[in-house]
Subunit: 316 residues, 2 copies
Amino acid sequence: MPLVKAIAPPDSNYLTESFRASLPLPASLDPHFEEALRHVLDHPGSLVRPRLVFEMATAYGLTNAAAQDLAIALEYFHTASLLFDDLPCMDDALERRGVPCAHLVFGQAGAILTALALINRAYALAWRAVAASPQPLQQRALEYLEQCLGVSGLLNGQSLDLHYSMLPHTAETTARVAQGKTVSLIRLTLALPAMLGGASTREVQQIERVALFWGLAYQIVDDLKDILQGTAQSGKTSARDQLLDRPNIVAVLGVKGAVRRLMQLIRLGDRVLHSLQAQRPDLEFLARLRADLESELNRVTADSQELLDGGCSCSS
Amino acid sequence: MPLVKAIAPPDSNYLTESFRASLPLPASLDPHFEEALRHVLDHPGSLVRPRLVFEMATAYGLTNAAAQDLAIALEYFHTASLLFDDLPCMDDALERRGVPCAHLVFGQAGAILTALALINRAYALAWRAVAASPQPLQQRALEYLEQCLGVSGLLNGQSLDLHYSMLPHTAETTARVAQGKTVSLIRLTLALPAMLGGASTREVQQIERVALFWGLAYQIVDDLKDILQGTAQSGKTSARDQLLDRPNIVAVLGVKGAVRRLMQLIRLGDRVLHSLQAQRPDLEFLARLRADLESELNRVTADSQELLDGGCSCSS
């Protein structure tokens, strides 16, 4: 049962409440564990992802209840991946979603158990959403979920990311890492609801291509921000990726090259998107994500122009 | 598809091979990640648990393929929980299943990603096993899985375990921790296959009571071993509960009191087991686990006698 009555498209209050309430905490829960879970459930981030899942799912005919289950499931997986990413043995981050990282407040064990609780609940919600679809669609959807989250997807991307120092520092490697880390979750966001709604193989392929181009594009935006913010803060190009020897396409292609690649990916995405929307006008809401990508492009272009005017030490 | 032809009851070579081969590693896998996964998949432990799952499942009419999927799924969940337990922020263990802990060989991030890969695969295998059962049985089984693994089960037990220093050091608290940490997985081992085979509510309740008594009993055996044995004998880093201020019933009841409680739990289990086996003679194989518990009792009784003769520093 969804805990909140659904409206489509869901506003952010609605999703905030769903995110908070979809992991019921039993009375027998260890109070320390409860505190860590509440810290995470009360700080949901932008919720762009679950909103898109919800919209894709309802566009493809899923019920509001199934759309909500899937939206929250994928957001819980995503949140869990961030809790792990932030650990000292991974990115050693300090802040997440505007508050101190869970491991800094509740210890690493507290952060790990919280992430595992989100994962356990996410699988249950995902299964419930899948079970609401016709039987012949279920197996493929569950295999897709496994593939995107597991050793062929997200986890492999994370491992490559951590071992980047031992890999050739090329655009190919950064793209390979981004395909695992970033694209996998965007594929789930866009393609899984469509699959469960019985989208044709061709449509799923088109959606996956959009997810690929946009996923790689968002990773470049992130890479540019990492370099540009680090530069703004320190006055020189000493950003976090460089510090940790993590993949960053700007370090490989330079600022100009990375911006050029970003524009190219947006164009490639546009081509598939237009063809997709010609058949499915109800996917019009995807234009919002496209517009968001464009604003990000404009922002980083302006910032990088400033940097280039001021003299940049990056290779280009 | 099961990767190995099933025979019932499965011998340990068969299960060793299933454990190793049920997480297919893609060619695109990061070699560091692959090494960590192979380290864990090549050291499967005693496999008592998956053997029991297999026997319960086939006794309740599941196919060999579904029984194998469920057996390996639960063993992967268990193995993942050990990988997390062993981390420096939890038990800070050195050795597991006769080899150095994964985090010591592949780093904490490597151990965490390996555990997550096992979990992702375990859900996929569990789903496949559940999907092979009649539809009306599926939802209950998946809810049970979620409950035993999540904030009402294993994860809560682990959190209580870590925060034991802040809890009253009583037999009740140690039992509460054991119910989360130990009993949850034994409940899944014994009751989940029965549920999927359509066991009656009464039968499932009986099986759950056996799981409770045996789970608590095994925890006492572990607690006694922690106090009585050294690392060399138990194969894992031992005598640590006191050091880490972790729950140990021997520290609360003394050696004699703990042995007495263990005998009582075995007797309580016997009573339910006899009634259960009277209706289901094909569950005769459970006597093996009962006998194993008895040998453990005899071993710890002998060891503790020696300790008591030599003078014990524990409260009793």
